[in-house]
Symmetry: C2
Subunit: 431 residues, 2 copies
Amino acid sequence: ESSNISDAANIIQQDLSPPEAAHILESCPQKVRHLLWGLVNEEDQGEVLTHLNEDIQQQFLEEMSAEEIVETTQEIDNDDLADILQQMPTEASHRVLQLMPSEERSQVEGLLAFPEDTAGGLMTNRMVNIRGDVTIEAVLRYLRKKKLPKSLDVLWVVDRTQHYQGSLALTELLQSPPEAIISEIMDTSIKAIECTLHEDKVAQIFERDDLVSAPVVDADNILIGRITIDDVVDVIRDSADHNMMRLAGLDEESDTFAPILKSSQQRAVWLGINMATAFVAAAVMSRFEASIAQIVALAVLSPVVASMGGIAGSQTLTLMIRGMATGHISRANLSWIVLREMGVAVINGALWASVIAGITVAWYGQWSLALVIAAAILVNICIAVLSGTLLPFILKSARIDPALSGSVILTTLTDVFGFLTFLGLATVYLL
Amino acid sequence: ESSNISDAANIIQQDLSPPEAAHILESCPQKVRHLLWGLVNEEDQGEVLTHLNEDIQQQFLEEMSAEEIVETTQEIDNDDLADILQQMPTEASHRVLQLMPSEERSQVEGLLAFPEDTAGGLMTNRMVNIRGDVTIEAVLRYLRKKKLPKSLDVLWVVDRTQHYQGSLALTELLQSPPEAIISEIMDTSIKAIECTLHEDKVAQIFERDDLVSAPVVDADNILIGRITIDDVVDVIRDSADHNMMRLAGLDEESDTFAPILKSSQQRAVWLGINMATAFVAAAVMSRFEASIAQIVALAVLSPVVASMGGIAGSQTLTLMIRGMATGHISRANLSWIVLREMGVAVINGALWASVIAGITVAWYGQWSLALVIAAAILVNICIAVLSGTLLPFILKSARIDPALSGSVILTTLTDVFGFLTFLGLATVYLL
């Protein structure tokens, strides 16, 4: 194993870009990870840190002194640094800020004022703006002396008082006559994003309009920053992952390679909640123990009723959560969506109720049992779909994460109503 | 309602960008959608088409003649056009191609040669390359005469025979002295992507290296195209959505607003498959009808055992599918992951087995029943987690989508083993 590690060390130091090194660190068990981190070139450590997932990043930071953190992060973008500091305990981040050069510190503090999940939290405030009343020639002269960000495609145009006016593509800059006035050739189609906008909405705008960068303004339309696509890509990946992980009760930042005990704790909570709901359903079933003792087939068929409802409900819930994430489903078309989903529920409920009735007749030879299970299936699928459609909206209005809570509540509902309708109808009509 | 529609028409024609119009069309029921499509300005229809999801796009295209399609799409990028043609029936796309101007046609046909889900399928072949052996001044002169893509941040540098050599940022172009030679100042850190690389890998590279655009080469390192971040963002969104939707048995392209009958069909298949698996589990349970008739508590507690396994398994499955999508989990660290997940399973299995045993004693007052259910829970959680870890790998090797099939197979396993261990142990030890 030690030769593996020295191989890895060689690779990390010589051949890997910082993002690649971060990816490898994330894919290692914790012990190996700490070993390898010590082997990353010191001048690369800052860049590597920004590419690590938050859990792992904070583990490394906890082991560093404030002086070491300032040293390590001096080369990274100030929006990345702000993100890192935002994750740290307030006291620790405060110590780091106090050790920083005053100009940089005030820039970073400016960014820290914005909540992490807004446009302000995504932006960098290091940018190059040009005035609308100057010529192309003047801009070219001005740019030659500035330190420019690596991947720049457009410049923002402002007036004398820093109000956002429009954009000028670098290609336009290269192709326009030197005497042209910026405000006459600038593009006004890119609208500025307000700094308070939620990051999910920012991502929707970038996706919809195929943007590479966008200007950020405050409430007075004064240009205060710039958002670039690389940070938006992280938002898109996280929000899509977030919903999938939450549907399974997982934390999307939960490190796949966290220590066993930490992972166990995170997942135990979810298992516990589900155990509670399973016992609620069991309690409902136990009300009908007398019926089950007489017709054992009821015990065998109950899980089928519950499971059909669960599947139908989780399909609807997933569609709703995705539609809400992409912005296709909102209060405006909710009533239409409910009608539509109920249509699907009735068709599929009727179809599978008949099939299951047929199987029940073939299996147990009892028409009455078949009718009871068919009715229960139809009712349960309709309840499941109705809940799957409305729950995400109700939860969202109550500021509860629909993906996380929706699936537990839905399973509880479909289990309880599945057992209740099937065993209830059976008790009334079969005994 | 008709006044609503004329309002909508006004909005669509005057105030909306094509991506916004596409978003609204996607969010409408089918009838309204067709009405609104007729109201979109003709010169915008091509752009709107490229932003629609494939299902809806093809619905509109089916109603257009080949001539109309050529007319409508003449302004859109050739990679977008290739994507549209790739979705159409071969005969129809052939008719469209034959009506196109020959130069454009050969460009589009060049793109159609690549499978849709590879780097070649993502790229555009309309790009601006520069030679390494010329000066900045010559490049500036050359660029002034070219038609440049809208959001360009870097130029690709090639040698005489079109082999990829490196990149030159537009900012570099603006800041370098006119007499500098390109090959001496170009950046060689952006590696070219081979045209056969799968789109998911392309997305991983863009995410990891924060790229805005990347060069695509053929097997001989000859530059053949350019991939831009806007197309990669779609891949990222789709692949994340894909996994979430597939876990619920949904097609990620399935239009939330498709006609009820079409949606019912798509979801019926999944309900049918799940019904079959529910009956497999029911069949296992029915083997123990004699035991259940004697101890009805077994019927009440069986679903609890199955559901705990189901939850533990689906958590592991979700983590694995996500880890495989981000590239963090591969064959290289699989054995370590299995050990780790089994550790989590044993800890959580033991924990919840004890809790459930306690609840069972409190409820039924039988220590022996409590011991049996505890053993069954522990065994089922371990089986669930082991299956959740290994299944995605086995399915992927067999070229089956782990997200789609994984969740059905896993539920079947946890139900069957849940009933089998619990009812089996009960039959042996309690009767």
